[in-house]
Symmetry: C2
Subunit: 370 residues, 2 copies
């Protein structure tokens, strides 16, 4: 392509680890004429979004907002605001995104203790218990849905231990959010971040975040400035809260229009129905894949409904097959990431993309190609 050619993006069936397909209403909202980031109407849009972020996180947290950058910046927001140099923190690692949290926490000057589990398995609460008995960390961070392995991490038992240890409980919900149950208040989560482009089915580029009162206290009690100005919540919150609405940065207005519409679709469907839909479609995909010799790498009971990590049968060349799916059918599935590269597929059924037609298209295409 060259710059003078007109944009002609193919109409892909997005069944990878995200982005997922957006509903036409979301694309339409995004194309609405621009308004200013301090326009009274835009402040109302922000307020609507905040209410819907609270509803979907199942929280009453006051400090609930959207970071003007992708999910990774949401991860960095939670960590840079809560960690000060020298703080001891515990990070659970069972895939790429736990590793990323360790990297960021280290850059914050934290003394990081890791708890590791084999890729494809969950962290065992007993491991957490053992570590908390011999340390007193400021926070413990864990990934709810490891996008690199397809593991759904149970959170409640670990949350209780973290709370009893007086630490903050930080959760990565990038892939789980709006696709499986996630009760921020009931489960005692102190800081949580997600992304717009997974089960929420908005375009990528934004990261919903929420902080509990306890996390806000930790923020208020900091001795040092947050190392990032752009992500410093003591500044960002003055744009999202209060009467003054102080300018901090220019919000991505169009992306926020799209996000509002994506949330409206979630509200209209209802969380319980949405979670049930994700689960039913996972089962439909599972039976079709298993019939063709694909094997789930995650033990039953720990599988993500929205991200199916499967071993491709040895008889098939996974890379060629993925390329043919993309080129001949317009279907994107995800390859493996990190140590799983070349070994597994990650098939996303996220948000708008969690539907029977996508599954049937994929299974039929696989039958024809193999």
């Amino acid at each position: 392509m060259a710059w003078n050619e007109e944009l002609n993006s193919n109409d892909r069936i997005l069944m990878g680890p995200g982005p997922s397909n957006a509903h036409p209403r979301v694309l339409k909202a995004m194309a609405s004429p621009l308004i200013g980031h301090l326009d009274p109407y835009f402040l109302e849009v922000m307020e609507d979004i905040k209410v819907m972020v609270q509803h979907t996180f199942q929280t009453r947290n006051h400090l609930t907002f959207v970071v003007s950058a992708p999910g990774t910046a949401g991860m960095e927001t939670c960590l840079v605001n809560l960690i000060e140099p020298g703080d001891e923190v515990v990070i659970c690692v069972h895939g790429v995104f736990g590793t990323r949290m360790v990297d960021i926490a280290t850059r914050c000057g934290a003394k990081v203790i890791t708890i590791e589990a084999e890729w494809g398995t969950a962290i065992d609460p007993e491991q957490v218990k053992a570590v908390l008995e011999r340390s007193s960390p400021k926070l413990l961070a864990i990934v709810h849905a490891e996008t690199s392995t397809g593991v759904l991490q149970p959170l409640e038992a670990i949350s209780k231990m973290v709370r009893d240890a007086g630490a903050l409980f930080v959760v990565d919900a990038v892939t789980s959010y709006c696709g499986t149950d996630l009760k921020v208040d009931e489960w005692g989560i102190d800081a949580i971040y997600s992304g717009s482009q997974k089960c929420l089915s908005a375009p990528p580029g934004l990261s919903p975040v929420s902080f509990s009162e306890k996390a806000v206290q930790a923020l208020d009690n900091r001795k040092s400035k947050v190392q990032s100005w752009f992500l410093d919540l003591s500044l960002v919150k003055n744009y999202w809260e209060g009467a003054k609405r102080a300018y901090h940065h220019t919000a991505p207005v169009s992306a926020m229009f799209a996000l509002r519409e994506a949330y409206r679709l979630v509200m209209e469907e209802g969380l319980d129905k949405r979670f049930a839909r994700h689960w039913e479609n996972h089962l439909l995909l599972k039976s079709g894949l298993e019939a063709m010799g694909f094997e789930f790498i995650v033990p039953e009971g720990y599988r993500l409904p929205m991200l199916n990590a499967v071993k491709v049968p040895d008889s098939l060349d996974e890379a060629t097959l993925r390329t043919r799916l993309l080129n001949e059918y317009g279907i994107e599935v995800g390859g493996g990431l990190g140590k799983f590269a070349g070994k597994i597929w990650r098939i996303g059924l996220m948000g708008e993309g969690s539907n029977k037609n996508h599954i049937n298209m994929l299974l039929s295409a696989l039958h024809q190609l193999t």
Copy 2:
């Protein structure tokens, strides 16, 4: 408004400090169906954008790309990648954005020397000369177009001094880029950032950035890790460059579609014609405003064509007038920022918004309201 109401953004005439109005082609491109951030077609889109960023920055810099976050994150990208704790840096301050650079550089652990000029005036090269005689900084940073004051800062004399002193020359071009001449290579700029929502007239949320070879060397020679993982160019560049295209974060696909289209409009018009248009429209607005008693606060020769900072006549209540312009005419003009709050207006004529009809609408509305 409530979440269940349909989005109904007014069709604003955006004559503030940004965002500016986007061309319908840009909004249409943004609403194109989503594709994956590692889709071969999306990598071509990125490559097209890179070529156009290079063209518009008038540079051959290899490390030229777009940060997946607003202009402020572009500022932070340049500073966190080039500064290590203990580095001496010089920052020129003649408005809000110079002050912001000082804040960020301080958070990077830099020893910051500031060079200050009265708000509404430019930094005098003699001031820079004096400071460079008694220091040996790693870099000097300056704002090309101070969005808070409307000053166009001449860069060439200062650039030569900085180069002779062996330092890196870092430039904020958020508001000047694509609206007035800016020759990155010829003027010896080592690191530069801009924003998508000013004279480029794409939606807010992205920040074009370019690093010279000398800046890349400084990056390669770092002893410590960049404090931000999200903005670490040693990681980001593996997504923008090379055969591998390693996953770093999920790029804002839709925003990039819009950005590509905004760049195509700039290419079709041509830089020289675009700069001339911005200048001519500035003159048209100027004569109309001066006839009504508005006074430019910046001396002639240092005025930005795309951001007109004017003192509102004492006989008028600036806040009421701005509100009436917005509510009765749908016209947004900017108020003062920082120490200029309540004292001046900032009237933007940026990108698509630099046109005679906008000017005529504003002037006629002002006549009717005063």
